[in-house]
C-alpha cells in the first residue's frame, strides 16, 4: 500500500482495520500524522452531531434562566416526560384507541414540537406565518403581538394552524381549529400547563400556556384578532 492508497482509505474510514493499512501506518510517520488528525476530527464531528435533544435543550436553558423563572421547572420536566409518552408509551395506546377527544388532542399536541416552546423575542419569518395562515384560510389582524412560531399541524385529521405567541410566563400555544365546533369553553390542564378551548364561530381556538399564565387578556385579544370565513 502506498501513501495515496492509504490516505484514500483513511479519509473515508479513519478507523479502518486491515493488515496492509495497519502496516503502512506503522511504517509511515506522515500517514500516521494524517490519520491522527482525521481521528481527532472525527471525535469533534461526533460531538457536533450530538445535537441536544429538544428536551435537553429546555433543561439546559432552564439552568441559565433567571431565578424568577425557576418555577417553570416542573412544567418543563413535564414536557420532557410527555415527550417520552408521545414517542414511547403513547404510540401503542393511540393506535388501538379511537381518535382522542378534542381536549386530549390539544394537550397531546403540547409535546409535539418541543422546540416551539422557546422564550424568544424573535418573530417567526413573515413568509412562514403567511404560508401557515393561508393554508388555514385565516387572517390575523396586526395587533396580535409577537408570533414566534407558526406551523400547519394535524389535529384529529384536520390541518390546523399552530401559532406560538409570547405570554408573560413564556410561550403560549394557539391552535386555530375551524373545524372543531364546541358549545362552550373547555378548560385544559396538563403537566404544568393550563389553558382552554374557546368556541369561535363554527370552530374553536385552543389557548394553552404555562401554569399561571394570564390567559384572559390574551384570549380576548385572540378571538378578536383571528378571522376566518365560514
Amino acid at each position: 500500500m502506498n501513501c495515496l492508497e492509504y490516505r484514500q482509505i483513511c479519509g473515508a474510514e479513519p478507523n479502518h482495520r486491515d493488515a496492509a493499512f495497519a502496516e503502512h501506518e506503522a511504517q509511515c510517520s506522515g500517514c500516521r500524522a494524517y490519520a491522527n488528525e482525521l481521528r481527532e476530527l472525527d471525535g469533534r464531528i461526533r460531538q457536533a452531531l450530538m445535537i441536544e435533544l429538544p428536551g435537553q435543550t429546555e433543561a439546559a436553558q432552564e439552568q441559565t434562566m433567571a431565578p424568577a423563572r425557576r418555577s417553570w421547572q416542573p412544567a418543563r420536566l413535564g414536557l420532557a416526560a410527555s415527550f417520552l409518552a408521545a414517542v414511547g408509551l403513547g404510540v401503542g395506546v393511540w393506535l388501538s384507541a379511537p381518535p382522542p377527544a378534542l381536549a386530549e388532542a390539544v394537550t397531546g399536541h403540547l409535546s409535539h414540537e418541543r422546540h416551539a416552546w422557546q422564550t424568544t423575542d424573535n418573530p417567526v419569518a413573515r413568509d412562514v406565518l403567511d404560508a401557515v395562515l393561508k393554508d388555514g384560510d385565516i387572517e390575523v389582524r396586526q395587533n396580535f403581538g409577537l408570533i414566534s412560531y407558526a406551523r400547519t399541524c394535524n389535529i384529529r385529521g384536520h390541518d390546523v394552524p399552530h401559532l406560538m405567541i409570547q405570554g408573560e410566563r413564556g410561550p403560549v400555544m394557539l391552535l386555530i381549529m375551524r373545524e372543531e365546533k364546541i358549545d362552550q369553553a373547555i378548560p385544559l390542564r396538563a403537566d404544568g400547563y393550563e389553558g382552554l378551548i374557546l368556541p369561535v364561530g363554527d370552530g374553536s381556538i385552543a389557548v394553552v400556556g404555562r401554569e399561571g399564565e394570564a390567559l384572559e387578556p390574551l384570549t380576548e385579544q385572540i378571538t378578536q384578532s383571528v378571522d376566518w370565513s365560514f
Partner: protein, 178 residues
Amino acid sequence: MNETESELARRRRFEALTRAHRDDLYRYAFWLARDHAVADDAVQECLLRAWKAFASLEDESRAKPWLMTILRREHARLYERKRPDMVAMQDLSQRENAMLGSQHNTDIDDLRAAIFRLDDSYREPLVLQVLMGYSTTQIAEQMNLQQNAVLTRLFRARKQLKLALERRGLRGNDGGAA
C-alpha cells in the same frame, strides 16, 4: 383476557425496544431534515409504521437498523410532501440558527454549521458512520449505494469539513485558545 395480556406484553416489548433507540432515531432524523419539526414528524411516523410492522421484525437484535430504515423512508415521504413550502418557507440560515441552541462552544458550533451545509449525500453517510457506528457496508445497505460510492462520499465529506475549518482559521483542537 389472555389476548389483552399478550397484546399488552407485545406493546411493552415494542416500547422498550424503541425507547432504547429513540435518541439515535431523533438525531438521525434531525440530520436528514436539518429541521426539528420535520425530525419530530419523521420519528413519530416511523414509530407508527414500526408498530404496525412489528410482527415482521424477526430478530430483535436487528431493531436498530430496522428502525433506521423505516425512519429514512418516512423522512423521504414527509420531505417530498413538505418540500415546496419548506424550501419557500425556511431558508437554511434560519434553521441553522434554530439548531445552534444553547450550547456555545465556538469550535464545535463552527463544525456543526459546516456539517449543516454539507450536501445531503455527504452528510448522511457521515452521520451513519460517526454517530451511529455503521460500517461502510451497512451504510451502503441503508442508502442503497455501492460501497465504493460510500467511500468516496465519506472521503469528500471529511475533506470539505477540514477545508471549512481551515478557512475559519481553526486547526486541531487549539482553535482560539492560543
